[in-house]
């Protein structure tokens, strides 16, 4: 007995250590990630900026963009523009020196509200003041973050539990009918199945309520800006569809628990599992269909595992040697032999699609933590299958008790894994950040009958920019560019370039000082006496 105890203690210590470590992983933005801002977070600017600008990894709908000065006064923003991934607004002219806080809220493409803030400074650097403003903002940052993580955990746990327990009940039913034919202890098992159904019934109701609470919390995040149109757009978004599907699925499962039709539990299970597919990062990943299929497998396997472990625990607690249900336990063990590796592989594949195995990213660290806990549980499960279950056939109370303890440990591990998952899905996978360019760039083409030119501005933000030009099909001797911003009265700023390589031109540090529609006059000398001209417009 002492050896298994020590093993338990070791495993517990491992799980606790992992949890402590994951607690230190910083929470990132959910779903839509902010790629860059102007001014940058923590920037110290010598001159007052004329606008603020945010660039996300996916299109977002801005619900709030606020700039507060050091006294907490809101600065009026004009010309708020939301162009897909980029949002911008004009600041009042010549804002005084000081620290400014920009806070924003937006709805991402999958209708999850996201929010955040950043700080910039005009004039002399004052790190202490920046720290103070940041800390003040940090304290009041999204009060609904933690409630949502908790509720999400409850929903995962509840949904998988209901689906898993009902599946387990089927397994048990199949077994008991065989046993019933043999006429052994049918009544005991019949009462056992009733209790499973009661648990599933309660869990389904709880999950249904939590789903509604989560929906309410999401709406609450939008609160000051919520109107009928936004409500409709959230309801019609993938998130809204998923929520609706889950409510229907849970309703069908509740009905199944109350003795509904024979198909009810399978249809309800499919609906509940399916309700998770359109939510989260599967839809926005590179291979939505494949990712959703993997996610479905992953969820079905997890449900089977959770429901099965719980069912095992109930059976073992009820029975004494010679363990009449050992056949059921064996059967669970057999199914788990392919179901659990399958679900792990599906999960790893999914994470691979998201490019999630990245240690430098919070998502990657959650993922590794999850995998480690799961592998520990697989180790325990293998121990059960190859040692304890055969031993159980021989009878013996000690074996039964040990098996029950291990099963409990696995259950706890699984619940923790689900908790980790509810954090994991709150992170945007690194793959989705990488899939969009880290730096926005403006690229424009000009073409003439004999050839063309493509011009690229990096990083395409107010400030110093690099301009790259590639000329195709025409000999290019010299390139003249004149940058002007008529709307701000900025006269043409000329740059003359010779090709670095045939057809390749580049110029650094072009001071495109202000945001707006820049006019670029292009003069390309193609022979001593001939040039091609054109106009390019670029919005910074």
């Amino acid at each position: 007995m002492s050896r298994p105890r020590r093993v338990f203690a070791g495993i517990w210590a491992g799980i606790l250590g992992l949890l402590l470590w994951t607690a230190g992983i910083p929470p990132a933005f959910a779903h839509a990630s902010l790629l860059s801002t102007f001014p940058e977070d923590g920037a110290v600017l010598q001159e007052a900026p004329t606008q603020v600008r945010l660039v996300f990894n996916e299109p977002v709908q801005l619900t709030q963009l606020q700039v507060l000065d050091g006294n907490g006064q809101v600065l009026p923003l004009e010309n708020l523009v939301s162009r897909g991934e980029a949002l911008q607004g004009d600041l009042p002219q010549g804002i005084p020196e000081g620290v400014y806080l920009v806070s924003w809220r937006a709805i991402s493409a999958d209708s999850h509200p996201v929010s955040g803030s950043f700080v910039f400074q005009v004039g002399a650097a004052d790190p202490e003041l920046v720290q103070a403003v940041r800390a003040a903002q940090g304290r009041k940052r999204d009060p609904l973050y933690w409630p949502l993580v908790g509720v999400r955990w409850g929903i995962y746990l509840g949904s998988l539990f209901v689906v898993g327990v009902l599946g387990w009940w089927r397994l048990l039913q199949g077994r008991s009918s065989v046993l019933g034919a043999n006429g052994i202890e049918l009544s005991v098992r019949a009462s056992g199945t009733e209790s499973f159904k009661a648990w599933a019934f309660v869990a389904a109701w709880l999950t249904l309520s939590l789903t509604l609470v989560a929906f309410g919390l999401h709406l609450a995040q939008l609160y000051p800006h919520l109107n009928g149109q936004k409500l409709l757009s959230v309801m019609l978004s993938p998130y809204g569809w998923g929520t609706g599907l889950r409510l229907v699925g849970l309703g069908v499962l509740i009905w199944a628990c109350e003795g509904g039709a024979a198909w009810a539990s399978s249809v309800g299970s499919v609906l509940v599992i399916g309700s998770f597919l359109p939510i989260g990062h599967a839809l926005t990943s590179e291979y939505p269909a494949g990712t959703m299929a993997l996610l479905g497998l992953h969820l079905a396997g997890s449900a089977f595992w959770l429901g099965g472990l719980w069912g095992l625990e109930r059976l073992l607690s009820r029975e004494a040697p010679p363990y009449p249900s050992v056949g059921i336990i064996q059967r669970f063990s057999d199914v788990a032999t392919w179901a659990v590796p399958g679900l792990i592989l599906a999960g790893m594949g999914m994470a691979g699609i998201h490019g999630g195995w990245d240690w430098d990213h919070p998502y990657g660290r959650y993922l590794w933590a999850k995998l480690l806990i799961v592998l520990m549980m697989v180790g325990l499960g293998a121990h059960n299958k190859f040692r304890l279950v055969p031993a159980l056939r021989q009878g013996g109370q000690a074996v039964g008790r040990l098996l029950r303890q291990i099963v409990r440990l696995e259950l706890v591990g699984l619940i923790l894994v689900l908790a980790l998952t509810s954090f994991l899905v709150a992170q945007a996978p690194p793959g989705q950040e990488r899939s969009s360019p880290a730096e926005p760039s403006c690229q424009e083409e000009l073409s003439w009958p004999e050839g063309s030119l493509s011009l690229r501005i990096l990083p395409c933000r107010p400030g110093n920019n690099r301009v790259q030009v590639e000329v195709k099909k025409i000999p290019a001797q010299e390139l003249n560019l004149a940058f002007s911003l008529p709307e701000r009265g900025i006269p043409p700023l000329r740059r003359q370039m010779l090709p670095k390589k045939p057809g390749q031109f580049a110029v650094e540090n072009v001071p495109l000082a202000s945001g707006g529609e820049w006019q670029i006059e292009v003069r390309l000398l193609i022979s001593d006496f001939e040039e091609r001209r054109g106009h390019i417009r670029v919005v910074l």
């Binding site: 002219q93 010549g94 701000r488 009265g489 006269p491 003069r523 000398l525 001593d528 006496f529 001939e530 040039e531 001209r533």
Partner: protein, 188 residues
């Protein structure tokens, strides 16, 4: 709107006003050809007027590209400047004074002199103009200075205001009813 923003507005308006005069002020300072109109098919003396250098730098070299269709091109003697011509073969050779003319002048180059920014000069050629009445022909000129270069080679695109071009090519308009036969020379 505070006083400051009014001031900023005033500053901007003044700048915009100033800028709107910029093209006007430079219009008289281009390299131009004289006369600006000549009878199509005629022998004409064309004079290129160079009114200034390149941002204060003296002019060292002037290159004039002879447009297609101009024949019998002869640069006028210009003291202190070296005169070169670049030839190109004619697509359709012609006979003149019993000789087959197979090539023509493609470019005339004046070099070796120095024309200070504060002075002006004129460089002349004579040529037989093409017999295409009504046509406006750009004659591209490159003005090379000690520092910098002006390429008077720009031609307005359809829909473009010729006055908006910073470095337009000198334009020569061919008028109708030329004295093509006046010298009894062969036509093309």
């Amino acid at each position: 709107m505070g006083l400051q923003s009014y001031l900023a507005l005033a500053r901007k308006s003044l700048l915009a006003l100033g800028m709107s005069f910029l093209p006007l002020s430079s219009a008289w300072a281009h390299v131009t050809v004289h006369p600006q109109e000549a009878p199509a098919g005629s022998y004409t003396k064309l004079t290129f007027r160079v009114p200034h250098g390149c941002d204060g730098s003296p002019t060292k070299r002037l290159r004039v590209q002879i447009p297609e269709g101009f024949v019998s091109v002869k640069p006028m003697v210009h003291p202190l400047w070296k005169i070169e011509t670049v030839k190109r073969p004619l697509k359709t050779p012609y006979e003149s004074h019993g000789k087959m003319i197979t090539e023509t002048v493609a470019e005339v180059i004046w070099s070796g002199g120095s024309l200070p920014d504060g002075l002006m000069d004129e460089f002349s050629i004579s040529a037989k103009l093409p017999d295409r009445p009504g046509e406006v022909i750009p004659i591209p000129v490159i003005q090379e200075c000690e520092k910098g270069v002006h390429r008077w080679i720009q031609v307005a695109q359809p829909g473009e205001d010729p006055k908006s071009l910073p470095e337009p090519a000198p334009l020569l308009k061919l008028t109708g009813g030329g004295g093509g036969q006046s010298h009894g020379h062969g036509t093309r």
